[in-house]
């Protein structure tokens, strides 16, 4: 397998800071973060100054930066909570972006050594994806694997990877009902595989540990789907699930790949599933409409960029989902605003 080497300055690590003290988080990731440029965006609702250790090459954005750039013209877009990271994406000029929640630390391998999730994401993004036919030995481009008997040769060069979805050990990304019902359910299974999620197959993308090709799909990583009582723990959000499906539709349409699997990060316990369930359960209900919608949406041939695709998806959301719930209507509007903002920021 040959994998072209990328320059470190093609990568941005974007961290949304929802907690005031990032010291422990950054120290644990230091061996893997320090080579790269970081963009840290402080949740605009988080008051005070962030504590960040020395020795990183980083840009920090706070509420005042967000207000300055976004201004009042795009008042439909909220960058509060987990959505603050999207401001970081907006500001990034680099090709590859990797994002990890600030309550995750490196997972350890069987020798007790921390796993370099950053490198794995880069490998995922820079090796081809294979969405048109399933390879039973998973990623054929990794060392020691290949395409199996019966895999058409014309499909073996694969396509570019647009999005790489990593996983989590310890506290898995279950929803509040599931985690409430099974409070002791932790993910301890390390599945040593990366696979391409097939074309036209939808999946729930978790924002906890992801990376993407900013040049190819950047505009589709958008803050649009906000629950009325959205909170500061993942159990109280589904914004990433929405965004992930937008990205998958875009990738399917533009013949790009979406991978899932390695790398794992270790997700620390935070919050209380039962409390979250009491507070915000609407997200779970809304998925019933969201998933069938994304499974059936089709884009026109004239949509040739991620921006075009997002605009078409937004229009379809407004038409088909808008009537069902105001959250969908708002999402459609926000998506359109986001593309305008994206283009404006890029033009400057």
């Amino acid at each position: 397998m040959s994998q072209f080497t990328i320059k470190d300055d093609e990568v941005d690590i974007v961290i949304g800071a929802l907690q005031p003290d990032l010291t422990s988080f950054m120290e644990q990731w230091r061996p893997f973060f320090s080579r790269f440029h970081l963009i840290i965006v402080q949740d605009p609702d988080l008051k005070g100054e962030l504590k960040i250790p020395e020795g990183f090459n980083l840009n920090l954005y706070t509420k005042s930066d967000i207000d300055k750039v976004v201004g009042s013209s795009s008042n439909a877009i909220s960058f509060s909570g987990y959505s603050c990271r999207y401001f970081g994406y907006l500001m990034s000029r680099n090709k590859y972006i990797i994002s990890i929640d600030d309550d995750c630390i490196p997972a350890k391998n069987s020798n007790g050594e921390p796993i370099d999730a950053i490198s794995q994401h880069i490998i995922n993004l820079t090796t081809p994806a294979t969405p048109f036919f399933f390879n039973t030995l998973y990623d054929p481009f990794c060392e020691g694997a290949d395409f199996v008997r019966g895999y058409p040769f014309s499909l073996r060069s694969g396509v570019e990877c647009g999005l790489s979805c990593g996983l989590w050990l310890n506290l898995a990304d279950y929803d509040a009902p599931t985690q409430s019902l099974k409070p002791d359910l932790k993910n301890s299974r390390y599945v040593d595989a990366v696979l391409t999620v097939p074309a036209r197959t939808m999946l729930p993308v978790s924002g906890i540990n992801i990376s993407f090709n900013n040049e190819l799909v950047g505009p589709a990583l958008l803050p649009a789907f906000r629950l009325a009582k959205e909170g500061k723990v993942r159990w109280e959000t589904v914004e990433d699930i929405w965004t992930g499906m937008c990205v998958k539709v875009v990738c399917d349409h533009l013949r790009l790949g979406v991978k899932s699997g390695l790398p794992y990060v270790w997700r620390q316990e935070r919050g209380n599933a039962v409390e979250s369930l009491k507070k915000e359960w609407e997200g779970v209900k809304l998925m019933e409409d969201v998933v069938p919608f994304f499974q059936s949406v089709r884009l026109s041939e004239s949509a040739v960029t991620a921006e075009d695709c997002v605009v078409e998806i937004a229009s379809s959301v407004k038409e088909h989902l808008g009537p069902l719930n105001p959250t969908f209507d708002r999402a459609a509007e926000t998506m359109v605003e986001w593309i305008k903002l994206w283009k404006r920021v890029r033009a400057n």
């Binding site: 399933f134 990304d173 197959t201």
Partner: protein, 420 residues
């Protein structure tokens, strides 16, 4: 007779048949004895019917050779391949059980406990355990013992192989297949933590609750460590590559996605999907080989997608010991390599009519489409389409209600030999 270290409970003992095609011998059954002995075996003997295949003592089996196949199916026997492991589908045809597990005769138990290592228990000294590392790792090598490998050692010492994982649990490929088949699949929406019905897993955030019941599982496709299932060109380029990666996952292949199904380590629900498991015309007198399981897999997937059933892949792993000759393979496969470029788009575009509500109906429709769309590529496909129809005719004949009663004419329909 040797006994396993701990008793192995046989799930679905009376509902599952193990189908094994063979042309050489069945020594490998010794290794599987603790897991296979409770089950009924259907052995399909390929090649020269006058040759006697020796089945180790103590197994409950029926064995069919070419003469039996010709006798039982009459002119319909033309759909069963000769000199190719595709003949195994005859075993699927005559089975009376709900589930089938099929395996090749060069496949062994896999152990998580160091690849290729086995824990042997002596018949005479039950308290004596020895650990052998088949590949790397510490321990005594087979060479040290003056034997070529685990099989020869077993034959010499009547040892029983009971593979265990680090927690001490026995790895039982058959039990894993059964688990896969008895739990639902999730073909409609991808679960990023793979099979949500496995211990220690569940559906992730964002997975709609209305989809969490899943779909009935029709097929469980297992994988292989050591010799990977590569095609001939890949084998020629990478003769030394071995699959050493144990991926601890079972996952559902999403609806609308095709995959290359390998028949080496396969289990399925015969009641749900049996008639689609036709392994085509391969081997002697045919222009193609080593595409039997591929063909069955593509037909099966299109039909399971249509009928709302699921196909799982992943665990269990078996240890694939024998690498076939890549030059021989190339000769068998090369037409397939060209043809699959047309075959795949064909299967990807198949839509079955709403009226096709049974597997048999779906399969007949498929055969018509094969004749129409693939026939122009090569006359082989026209023959294959006809054979697909013959297969369904044979299936209906053998599996019609009249047949499910004890056969009055046992001599006509029975195997040439059975035991137990």
């Amino acid at each position: 007779m040797s006994k396993p270290a701990t008793p192995v409970a046989p799930p679905l003992k009376d509902e599952l048949d193990i189908v094994i095609p063979t042309i050489r011998n069945l020594d490998f059954l010794e290794m599987w004895r603790p897991f296979f002995q409770p089950y009924h075996l259907i052995i399909v003997q390929d090649g020269d019917p006058t040759k006697t295949i020796n089945v180790p003592e103590g197994f409950d089996y029926e064995l069919y050779n070419r003469n039996d196949i010709n006798r039982i199916l009459g002119p319909k026997a033309s759909c069963i391949s000769f000199k190719d492991s595709a003949c195994r589908c005859f075993g699927f045809l005559v089975s009376k059980k709900k589930y089938i597990f099929t395996i090749d005769d060069d496949c062994f138990l896999e152990s998580e406990f160091g690849l290729g290592s086995v824990i042997c228990m002596s018949v005479n000294c039950r308290d004596e355990f020895s650990l052998f590392a088949g590949r790397g790792g510490a321990g005594v090598s087979f060479g040290d013992l003056g034997v070529n490998g685990p099989r020869e050692y077993a034959k010499k010492k009547f040892f029983v192989y009971v593979a265990k994982d680090p927690s001490g649990k026995e790895i039982n490929a058959l039990a894993q297949h059964i688990q896969n088949l008895l739990t639902p699949s999730t073909p409609f929406f991808f679960n990023t933590l793979y099979d949500p019905y496995r211990d220690g897993a569940d559906f992730v955030r964002g997975y709609p609750f209305s989809m969490r019941e899943g779909a009935p599982t029709a097929v469980s496709h297992g994988l292989w460590l050591n010799i990977p299932d590569y095609d001939a060109p890949t084998q020629l380029v990478k003769p030394l590559e071995r699959n050493t990666r144990y991926v601890d996952a079972v996952l559902t292949i999403p609806k609308g996605t095709l995959f290359p199904m390998c028949g080496m380590n396969l289990a399925f629900d015969r009641e749900l999907i049996g008639p689609a498991m036709y392994f085509g015309l391969m081997g002697d007198g045919q222009p193609i080989g080593r595409y039997d399981d591929m063909w069955a897999g593509w037909c099966t997937k299109v039909i399971t997608d249509h009928l709302g059933l699921g196909v799982k892949t992943g665990l269990p792993y078996i240890w694939h010991s024998k690498a076939s000759n890549p030059f021989v393979n190339l000769k068998k496969e090369y037409k397939g390599i060209y043809w699959q470029e047309d075959i795949i788009p064909f299967f990807q575009s198949v839509t079955l009519p709403k009226e096709s509500t049974t597997v048999q109906k779906c399969y007949i429709e498929l055969s018509k489409m094969v004749k129409e769309k693939l026939g122009p590529i090569d006359p082989y496909f026209t023959k294959l389409a006809d054979a697909m129809v013959t297969w369904i005719d044979a299936w209906e004949e053998i599996n019609s209600p009249a047949q499910s009663a004890p056969a009055a004419d046992a001599k006509k329909d029975g195997p040439s030999s059975k035991k137990k």
